[in-house]
């Protein structure tokens, strides 16, 4: 029910994002989804890749600070109100979204949204009750 995400600390200077991409490319790692949080001085790059363990290792070997976090991936119908339904469910349960990012599947069907909630287990329970489709890690890594 949970998806592994890696995050990378990046100083705000030119070329660092390219360095990360280069390291992953050289290791033959495929990026499934990503988002970049930026502040004045630094950024946090969050990635979902096809091989989390290997990606973390090659990035560490290249001197990056890498973290691993569990996030939730949900499938949302590609129609108005799809996202609102999920967020309202969370609001009703007083669960806070720390961050989220979305991507659309290849087939052009439904959208996939990656969520980081402050209460992971509770969020899963609430989403299941609301009959929201939660994707397993394997489904995302192999898209």
């Amino acid at each position: 029910m949970k998806v592994e995400q890696i995050s990378i600390f990046l100083e705000n200077k030119s070329g660092r994002l390219a360095d990360v991409a280069g390291v992953l490319a050289a290791a033959g790692i495929n990026v499934r989804a990503l988002s970049l949080a930026d502040t004045t001085d630094f950024g946090i790059l969050r990635l979902i890749v096809d091989d989390t363990v290997k990606a973390k290792q090659v990035l560490k070997d290249n001197g990056f600070t890498v973290g691993r976090t569990e996030v939730i991936a949900v499938e949302v119908e590609d129609r108005p109100g799809g996202l609102a339904h999920i967020l309202n469910t969370m609001k009703a349960a007083s669960i806070n979204v720390e961050y989220m990012y979305a991507f659309v599947q290849k087939s052009g069907g439904n959208a996939i949204i990656i969520f980081r909630f402050d209460e992971l287990e509770k969020a899963i329970e609430v989403l299941q009750q609301a009959e929201v489709k939660i994707l397993a890690g394997e489904e995302i890594y192999s898209i």
């Binding site: 600390f9 100083e11 946090i44 969050r46 001197g63 600070t65």
Partner: protein, 433 residues
């Protein structure tokens, strides 16, 4: 264990009598042998015969690094050159290096003092001493080496650098005692982690660290990460090299000054007046037995205070508090005196923060702006922006609380702050004053 029970536990009265006798003899010899010192004493209106008590020491003029530079290279040597058997020199990052010489007897004394130092740190015959102080003109390497041999330990004269090889030999040779700068000890800990070597699998038991100022927090970090006891040792080449003062393993609190060889004083760095025992000021040393390169009231520019309370280890020598900074490392930020060690102290008190930091001072308009760069290790990294920002703010607030200055904490990627295999550069002052 106490290496020289007779001298290291002398009752204060007997010790002071010995100091006075040695001081009088030393001053007479220097006056006769070194024209530069004789002239300075004459200018101050003091003669060797005026030294009647230890208190009269304060009548003698100070010696500074500038005096040593003016007499480059051998002008302050107090013996005929054919009696000199060793020459060392400071790194001399600005201008000419500071040159010091040793007679055969000076080398003997030095070995004795370093054997005392090692012994105070819990080392003994049968130990394998991994000596990663630099060998060469720097006094650290050879000073530690001769002391370890005198102690009867087996010395590995590995010198600094090539940390991977250092660790391999620690494993293969079963090193029990590590000697290097504290920042290099942390570098070794980093490399061990990279190599996936568990410090607990090594035989290392104790480390004797010196040659740069470090903090109590840094000690805890080293002790935890290398699984050893970390002992602070002190010395400077102008006075002799390592072996001027050392902590005992019993207390690890304050460094016993080997007072039968050196007289320590604490003076006010501005007025140059001697301060009472217990007050913070500039550390000043007078050598009592040195033949080739004696110094009289040498200003170290190191800040410390003396501790007179008896120590549980049994040594009667006064202790000097660990060096808290240098009079010339002192930054004046918007009128506030700041020592890099104080900022280090704050950083190390924050869980997970590593002691790799750099302080950058700029002047914007007429205002001093301080940036403290802190490396983000896995321990403090988070995928959430707010947690990292909160950490930065917390450090800023603690620096403000403790030092009374506002600064900006900048989180940087690991290994971006230059690692030094010798002394670490902590401050970059870009102000053009």
């Amino acid at each position: 264990m106490i290496w020289n029970e007779e001298f290291e536990t002398l009752p204060r009265e007997a010790l002071e009598a010995l100091q006075l006798k040695r001081l009088q003899h030393q001053i007479e010899r220097v006056y006769a042998a070194v024209p530069y010192y004789r002239n300075k004493m004459e200018e101050s209106g003091v003669k060797p015969s005026d030294i009647k008590t230890l208190r009269d020491l304060r009548r003698l003029p100070f010696t500074t690094k500038e005096d040593l530079r003016l007499n480059y290279p051998f002008g302050l040597f107090a013996v005929p050159f054919e009696r000199v058997v060793r020459i060392h020199a400071s790194s001399g990052t600005t201008g000419k290096p500071t040159v010091v010489g040793y007679t055969k007897r000076d080398i003997e004394s030095w070995a004795e003092l370093m054997a005392r130092t090692l012994s105070a740190g819990g080392a003994h015959q049968g130990d394998v001493v991994h000596n990663a102080y630099g060998y060469g003109l720097f006094t650290g390497g050879l000073g530690a080496h001769y002391g370890a041999e005198r102690l009867g330990a087996a010395v590995i004269p590995i010198s600094g650098g090539n940390s991977k090889r250092q660790i391999m030999l620690m494993q293969d040779f079963g090193s029990t005692v590590l000697m290097c700068t504290p920042s290099y000890a942390l570098n070794i800990a980093d490399v061990m982690k990279e190599m996936k070597v568990d410090p607990a699998s090594l035989k290392l038991r104790v480390g004797l660290f010196g040659a740069e100022p470090w903090s109590e927090n840094m000690r805890e970090e080293i002790q935890k990460r290398l699984n050893i006891k970390a002992i602070d040792i002190f010395g400077l080449s102008e006075v002799m090299g390592p072996g001027v003062a050392s902590e005992c393993i019993e207390e690890q609190h304050g460094l016993h000054v080997f007072e039968d060889y050196f007289i320590p004083e604490i003076v006010d760095p501005k007025t140059m007046e001697p301060l009472p025992v217990g007050e913070l000021g500039e550390l000043v040393f007078t050598t009592l037995t040195k033949e080739a390169f004696p110094v009289i009231r040498y200003r170290t520019k190191d800040l410390s205070r003396l501790i007179a309370e008896p120590c549980s280890c049994g040594r009667t020598f006064y202790r000097m508090e660990r060096i808290t900074g240098r009079t010339d490392d002192m930054l004046i930020i918007r009128g506030v005196n700041v020592f890099p060690s104080q900022i280090e102290h704050v950083l190390m008190s924050v869980e997970g923060v590593e002691p790799h930091y750099q302080i950058i001072v700029n002047r914007e308009g007429s205002l001093d702006v301080v940036e403290v760069q802190v490396e983000v290790s896995e321990n403090i990294f988070s995928d959430e922006v707010k947690i990292l920002e909160k950490l930065g703010k917390r450090i800023e607030r603690e620096i403000k609380d403790l030092l009374g200055i506002s600064c900006k904490v900048k989180l940087v990627e690991p290994k971006t702050i230059q690692r030094s295999e010798g002394k670490a550069q902590r401050v970059i002052d870009n102000r053009k004053l």
